[in-house]
């Protein structure tokens, strides 16, 4: 494996709180890597360490072979960063925001002007380049931040929750854009959304409380829970009674209730028959097999929901 990013036992403490705990990981070049986790999992902390904004309490990380501790400047030359919260300069126009970034990367006007034209065209902001970003919609601002991160042709792109807060349409636009960068650079993104990780990433690590819990491709992770058969059953009423019934079944591995509907995970394929026998005659409104989502993977592996 040709490694783009290598974390070696990264730990970060904030006082007595350990935000990242002895985290090690290698990310392959030109792949899309997704770090998935609930609020406070430590995703942003990891990105800040990898982008040299923060020093780890212990451990080191290499980006394209350069240490974030000893060769931070070389690391910064090679990375593009889309932070969790947009940090555009509202006193500069969209184009001036890009120009300042290019200058800080030591680019000359001859280099940056055509590149900026191209990027503005690509993100659909060419006609708005003289406007100040504080009047842009959230989606437009996000696209501008992404364009800024790509301006200097980085080898590794970090995206911290690139689509949080965007409407489905803007989200899809950002996804398409990230897809189009596939195999041009290494992409390291964090997200809360299973769907996002599922559709974009070659490899996914789910983390919580500073530790990696699960590691694999979306397909592999789903495969891991394929054996646990998850059904959704909705009753016409009398849900309390049925809850008791379901809980009494020894082959029900986990049960979640939402009003009159239940999410039932069976232990094994062969449990389906006794299960059906027990609920025969119940007032069932509908029942269906659920394709396991990454969320199910998470619940399966950690025993709890991804907190939103």
């Amino acid at each position: 494996m040709r490694t783009a990013i290598s974390l070696k036992g990264i730990t970060k403490d904030y006082g007595s709180l350990t935000a990242v705990a002895d985290f090690s990981l290698d990310v392959e070049r030109e792949s899309i890597f997704g770090l998935l986790g609930p609020n406070g999992a430590g995703k942003t902390t990891l990105i800040k360490i990898l982008t040299t904004l923060m020093r780890p309490t212990s451990g080191d990380a290499l980006v394209e072979g350069y240490s974030v501790l000893n060769a931070a400047k070389q690391v910064r030359r090679l990375i593009g960063v889309v932070p969790q919260a947009n940090n555009l300069d509202r006193y500069l126009t969209a184009r001036e925001n890009l120009i300042l970034h290019a200058r800080l990367h030591g680019m000359s006007p001859k280099e940056y002007n055509p590149r900026i034209d191209e990027l503005l065209e690509l993100i659909g902001l060419a006609s708005r380049q003289r406007d100040f970003p504080d009047i842009f919609s959230g989606g437009m601002q996000r696209r501008l931040v992404v364009a800024r991160a790509l301006l200097h042709n980085p080898r590794v792109l970090f995206l911290d929750e690139p689509t949080t807060g965007l409407d489905p349409q803007s989200r899809r636009a950002v996804w398409e854009y990230i897809q189009s960068l596939r195999s041009k650079m290494t992409i390291f993104l964090t997200t809360h959304y299973m769907e996002e990780a599922d559709s974009l990433c070659d490899r996914i690590v789910i983390m919580d409380e500073g530790k990696a819990l699960v590691d694999g491709s979306a397909a592999q992770l789903k495969e891991a829970v394929a054996h646990s058969h998850i059904y959704e059953i909705e009753f016409k009423g009398n849900a309390d009674h049925y809850e008791g019934l379901l809980r009494s079944m020894p082959f029900v591995e986990s049960l979640e209730r939402n009003r009159d509907s239940f999410r039932v995970a069976l232990k094994d394929e062969k449990d389906l028959k006794p299960f059906m026998e027990k609920i025969v005659g119940a007032d069932i409104k509908r029942i269906f097999l659920k394709e396991p989502t990454l969320e199910d993977v998470f619940i399966e592996l950690t025993g709890r929901n991804i907190r939103e």
Binding site: R76, P83, N87, E96, L100, L104
Partner: protein, 251 residues
Amino acid sequence: MFRGAYSIWGRDMLVLRRSILSELLAVMAYPLTLYLAFGVGLKGYIADVGGIPYPVFIAPGLISMTAVNAAFDESAWSMWFHRKVQRTIEEYRVTPITVYDIVIGKIFSGFSQGAIKGVAVAVVIFFMTPFRFQFSYLLFYLAYIVLGSMIFSCLGTICGTLIDKPENIGRVQAVVIVPLIFMAGIFFPLSAYPTAILPFIKALPTTAMFEGARQALVYGVFALNYIVTLVITAAVTFALAVVTFNRKMSE
């Protein structure tokens, strides 16, 4: 080296250029009010100070005060704003420039604001004052504006780096900056102080800044001791600002 500092300073100057007229209008209001209230309003009640008409006596201090206040304001608020509100400092920090580029760029932005606004107020006050200063005196005087703006820009940078809550920046201004400026004798001669405390007052860098400025502009005296005090203060505050910012960023 310092390409980054130059780019950041360039950004600040571009933003200043866009609003220069309203900025100048706003910055003139305060010193001109003081000038009219004290220089004209009180003129009849205050005898000449040491043979100098009162409006002329206070003019250099008002100009210097504008410059150093503007430098402090710009540096403190801009650093705070870019760090805490807009978080543009984080954007600067993921590019291949150093924290030194950032802090030096910001210090020079504050310095430039102070110098520009000080000169603008000077032009207006000179125009209103019936007293012509000699050109060579003006050059001496400029040295004080430059050094004063530099020192206060560094002080502002330190405040904007260390202070997270905006109201606390206001408090530092009210409790430290304003008294330091007014105690330095903008409106009265230092001889008004009791002899017991005069040495302490004279040791203040702001005294060097304001009293020195007055001596330069009104009498054409190039007071070396004041200049040396200011150069040393500027060097120390500059180093402190750079170290403070560097520390804060590696937290």
